[in-house]
Symmetry: C2
Subunit: 544 residues, 2 copies
C-alpha cells in the first residue's frame, strides 16, 4: 500500500450552530429521507432556526475594568466581549447544545479571553479570582456533556478561556518517543507536526479535526485506534497545569511509584481543578502501511464473543468495531448511506497499522473465523475509514429535518455487557414511547479491553414538541439504567454537567468528597467550571 496515512489536514473554523466545516453541511441523502418515515413515522420539519444575527443575548456582565485587567495579561486583541465570540463559545456540540443554538434567546459567556502561554493562563486565573469571575476552559469546543455551559455559579460573571493560541510542538525527544505539545494544539496540528519527524500520536476520536490535546486529557478521551494504541489516558506521559493557587509539572518517568499518580487527578478533571497548559505524550513511528478487513457475524452476541477473544489474546488489530443488527441494517456507520443495504447479522471492521501487521491480521482473523465470523473483504472497512469523522454532519441534517438524533456511551465487563446493552435499549425505547415518539436505536462496540468493552448508542427519534424536554427525561432514565446495570456513566464522553448527578452514585459519597477536597485546595473560590463533574454541591467555603 502506498496511501499516505497522515491525517494532518486543518479544519476551518467550526460552524457556529452545527458541526464542523460549514462548507460540508449537507441535506439529508435521498436514501435516508426515504427510510426515515418507515422507521419513525411522519416527521414535521421544524421552524427555521435563527441566524447568528437573530440570536438574542444578555449584555456582558463584565465592566471595562474587568476587560482591561485581562487585556493587560493577554493583550487587548485577545479579549473579546463581542456578540459573535460570545455566541460561538456558548457550549459544546451535544444535541442539547445544537438545539439550544437553534433557539432565539441564548445563554453565553460574558467574554472570551485567549491567552497564549502557560504563564498567561496562570495570570488569567488570578485576574478571574480577584474579580470574582467564573472561568470555563475552552479547547476545541467539542464537549458533548455540557462541560462548556457558561455557568457562572455564585460569581459575578463568567469568561470563556479559549486555549487555541497555546499551540504547537514544544519539545520532541525522538529517542524516547516523547513529545510535549501546548494544550490547545488540535488533533490534525499535532499529527502534522509529528509527521514531519516520521512520527504519529495515533489518537483519532470522532472529534479529532477540532478537539485539542488538552481537551483529550481533561475529558479522558478514547480514539478509534484504541485497540492498538490505548485510551488517551495511557498516551499521556506528563502534564503541565495552571491552577488558581499554583502550578504543577507532572511526569518524570514512564513508570513510577512516587506516591499516587497525580497526572490521573487531572485526567478527567474537565477544568474544575486547573487548566492543562502542556500535554506530554508517547508517540510512535508513523505507520507505513495499513490493512483492512471487514467481517460479518451471525448476530451481535457471536460478534461480541469474537471481540472478547481478540481483546483477551492481545497483539491484535489497531481498530476493531462491531455494529449490532440495527446498526448493521442501516449502515449508519457509512455516512450518508442509510438504507443503502438492509444488511443481515452484525458487521465488524478491522484495521491494522504499524509493526508486524500481516501476522497480527493472521492471528486475529483466525480468532474471528473460529468465533463464527465471515470475512467480507476490504471495502466496508475502507469506507468506514474514509468517513469516520463525518458522522456529526449527518446529525445536523437530521435535526434540520426535525429528527431527534443523539449518541451516548458506556462500558462494563464482558460478563455484564449484554445486560447493560439491553437495559440501555429498553430505557431509550420506553422513554421515547412514553413521550409518544417512535425511535430507532443502534449500538456498536468500538473500544475493547481484556476485561470488558464500551457500548456506543445512536438513537433517532420522531419527537414532536419540545425535543430538549423529552431528551432530558429519556437521558435521565438511561443514566439510571446504566448505573443499575453495572455500567460507567461515561466511557469517553466524560461527565461535564450532564452526567454530574450520576457521578456521585458511581464513585460514592466518599469519592465526591475526595474530588471536592482537591477542588477546594486548588480553587478555593470555586471559579473553575462551576457545576461540572462534581455538580453544584460545592460551595466556595469548606463545610468544616
Amino acid at each position: 500500500m502506498t496511501e499516505e496515512i497522515g491525517r494532518g489536514e486543518d479544519a476551518p473554523p467550526m460552524r457556529w450552530n452545527g458541526w464542523g466545516d460549514p462548507q460540508k453541511a449537507k441535506d439529508l441523502p435521498f436514501a435516508v429521507r426515504s427510510l426515515l418515515p418507515l422507521l419513525l413515522g411522519r416527521i414535521r420539519r421544524p421552524d427555521a432556526a435563527p441566524t447568528l444575527e437573530d440570536v438574542e443575548i444578555a449584555p456582558t456582565a463584565l465592566a471595562e475594568a474587568d476587560l482591561a485587567a485581562f487585556a493587560a495579561v493577554v493583550g487587548p486583541a485577545h479579549v473579546d466581549a463581542g456578540r459573535e465570540a460570545r455566541i460561538r463559545h456558548a457550549g459544546g456540540r451535544s444535541t442539547i447544545d445544537l438545539l439550544r443554538r437553534r433557539q432565539h434567546r441564548q445563554v453565553v459567556p460574558d467574554a472570551v479571553i485567549a491567552p497564549s502561554a502557560h504563564d498567561e493562563v496562570h495570570a488569567c486565573l488570578r485576574v478571574a479570582a480577584e474579580r470574582d469571575l467564573a472561568v470555563i476552559p475552552f479547547g476545541g469546543g467539542t464537549s458533548v456533556v455540557g462541560a462548556l455551559d457558561p455557568e457562572r455559579g455564585a460569581h459575578r460573571g463568567v469568561v470563556s478561556l479559549d486555549l487555541h493560541r497555546l499551540s504547537g510542538l514544544l519539545r520532541l525527544d525522538e529517542e524516547s518517543g516523547d513529545a510535549v505539545f501546548a494544550a490547545g494544539t488540535t488533533g490534525p496540528e499535532a499529527e502534522r507536526l509529528l509527521a514531519e519527524h516520521g512520527l504519529e500520536l495515533g489518537h483519532y476520536p470522532q472529534s479529532f479535526r477540532y478537539a485539542t490535546l488538552g481537551g483529550f486529557a481533561a475529558a479522558r478521551s478514547s480514539g478509534q485506534n484504541s485497540a492498538g494504541h490505548g485510551r488517551f489516558d495511557t498516551m499521556v506521559t506528563g502534564l503541565r497545569v495552571a491552577t488558581p493557587t499554583g502550578a504543577l509539572d507532572l511526569g518524570r518517568s514512564p513508570g513510577s511509584a512516587a506516591g499516587p499518580d497525580l497526572i490521573r487527578v487531572f485526567l478527567g478533571s474537565e477544568g474544575i481543578f486547573g487548566v492543562i497548559t502542556e500535554v506530554r505524550v508517547r508517540v510512535h513511528p508513523a505507520p507505513a502501511e495499513r490493512l483492512f478487513e471487514a467481517w460479518t457475524f451471525p448476530d451481535f452476541a457471536s460478534g461480541a464473543a469474537a471481540l472478547r477473544a481478540v481483546a483477551q489474546q492481545g497483539g491484535g488489530p489497531t481498530v476493531i468495531r462491531l455494529s449490532d443488527e440495527s446498526e448493521t441494517a442501516v449502515s449508519l456507520a457509512q455516512v450518508g448511506k442509510i438504507g443503502k443495504a438492509m444488511a443481515k447479522g452484525a458487521s465488524a471492521i478491522t484495521v491494522y497499522e504499524g509493526r508486524d501487521i500481516e501476522h497480527r491480521r493472521a492471528v486475529t482473523s483466525d480468532l474471528l473465523r473460529r468465533a463464527g465470523g465471515t470475512s467480507s473483504g476490504e471495502g466496508a472497512a475502507e469506507e468506514w475509514l474514509a468517513g469516520r469523522f463525518d458522522g456529526p454532519y449527518l446529525r445536523d441534517a437530521l435535526l434540520d429535518a426535525g429528527v431527534f438524533c443523539e449518541t451516548l456511551e458506556t462500558a462494563t465487563t464482558w460478563s455484564q455487557l449484554h445486560g447493560l446493552r439491553a437495559a440501555v435499549l429498553n430505557a431509550l425505547r420506553d422513554g421515547f414511547t412514553e413521550a409518544g415518539a417512535k425511535s430507532y436505536i443502534m449500538c456498536h462496540i468500538s473500544h475493547i479491553y481484556p476485561t470488558g468493552a464500551s457500548l456506543y448508542f445512536t438513537v433517532l427519534a420522531g419527537v414532536r414538541g419540545d425535543q430538549l424536554a423529552v431528551w432530558d427525561d429519556v437521558k435521565s432514565r438511561v443514566n439510571d439504567a446504566i448505573l443499575a446495570a453495572g455500567g460507567t456513566i461515561s466511557h469517553h464522553h466524560a461527565v461535564g454537567r450532564d452526567h454530574a448527578p450520576w457521578l456521585a452514585e458511581e464513585i460514592g459519597e466518599t469519592g465526591i468528597r475526595i474530588l471536592t477536597a482537591i477542588k477546594r485546595e486548588l480553587d478555593p473560590q470555586g471559579i473553575l467550571n462551576p457545576g461540572a463533574v462534581i455538580g453544584r454541591g460545592v460551595t466556595a467555603h469548606p463545610a468544616s
Copy 2:
C-alpha cells in the same frame, strides 16, 4: 515444554530479623567469600546480633481499655500486645530495617490488631480515631522504604494493623478475566487460587512469596513479568477501601471517563488515605509453556539500545532484563554464584510466556541481534528464573559477614537513562569513598516502556563503623542525584518515610498540597501511617 508453571507455593512465616524462610538462611558461598576482599578490602565480622529474646522494647502505651475496644471488633485472639508480635511488626525489610533488627533496643508498635474483613478494618479505624492511636497498615511486611516504621506522630500510641486474615479469592468472573481478592492475600496464595481455574495474575516482584495484593496496590509494585503483563497499576481494575471517615468501592469498567480515576488516588497511597481491603485484578489464562533465551551485548549501552527497540516495537517478551558490566561480571543475578565467572560485556535474559511465543521470540531475537546481541542459549535465563526470589537471602549472609548491601531503583526516559545511571553510580561511589569505604556497584534494567526504563542498583560496601549513619548520608546524596538527573524517586519500591523528603521535589508544592488535602478529608486526625509519603509536615488541623 511440560514444566508446571504455577508458583503457588506458600512460604513459612518470615524470619523475624532477616528475609524469608528461616530454613533458607545460609552462610556466604565460598566463591563470594573469596571475591569480597578483592572488591571491598578486609571486612570485620560484626558482633553477634541479639536474639529475639534479647531485644529490649518499651512497654506498650496502650491501656487495657484500648485493647478491649479492638478486641470487641476483631476478637481477643486477634489483639496481640506481646513482645514477639510487636517486634515482628517493627518494620519492613530494607537494609535499614535489618540493621535495626540487629540492635538491642528496638522501636516497635504498641500492639498488633488483625481484622478479618472490610467491616472490621473500618471499625478498627474508628476505634483508633476515637482513642487517638496511629495505625500502620501491615500486609506482607516487605516494604523497603520505611512505610512500616511504627511512627505514632502526635498520637498517644501506634498499632500495627496486620491484614493477613483478609485472605482469599472473593469473586471470580472467568468470562471477563476479572478476580476480586481480599487485600491480605499473598502472591503465592493468589496464584494458587487462580491456578485452580487455569488462570494467572502474573505479578512476580522479588517480594512475591510474602507480599500481599493490597501491598502491591498501595505501593505501586512492578513485577518481573512487567514487559508482558505491565505494572501492578495496570492490572488493578477495582479497589475497596476503608478510610477513617468512609468507604469506597471503585472500578466499574475497564475504561471510563467518569471523572478522575480514583483508583489511582489509592495506588501509591501506602496507607495514608485508607486501608485497601479488596483488590480487583485482571487475570489471564495460565501460560502452558515458556521459552528462555539469554543474550550477551558488547556493553550496557548497546544492550540498552536493544531493549529500547524491543519496548518501542511492542509485542515482545514477558520478561526482559539487562545487567551492566559490573553485574554481569559477578553474576549476582544468579544467587550464590558471585565470582563463578567474571563474564565480559552485558548479559540479558528473555523469557516468553503465553500466546504466540515462538513468533514473539523470533521478532524479538531479530531486534536483539540487529542491536549487537549474541544469543547464549537457555541456561542463564533458566537459572535466573529458578533463583529469582532468593536474592534477599544473600543480603542477610552479607550483613552477617559485615558487608553492607542494599538496593535502590529509579526510572526515566530513554534519552536520560545513561545520564541518570552515571549520576547514581557517582553518588554511590563518592558517598562511600568519603566514608572511607570501598564499594562495588551493579546496575540492571528490569522494566521497560516505550518511552523509558527503570534502573535497579545493588551496592556492596565495606563500611566500618555505623552502617546506618553512613547509608543515611549516601542515600540522601543518591536521592538528590536522581532528581537532579531527571529520575523518579522510585520506580517500584515506593516512598514510605525514606523517600518522603524527596517526593516534594518530584511533585512540587502544589502536588503535596493535593495529597495533603485528600489526607485531611479522609483522615482528619492524621492517624493513618503518620510521616509516610507526604512526610511530617501534615498536622491534624488544616492550616486555613
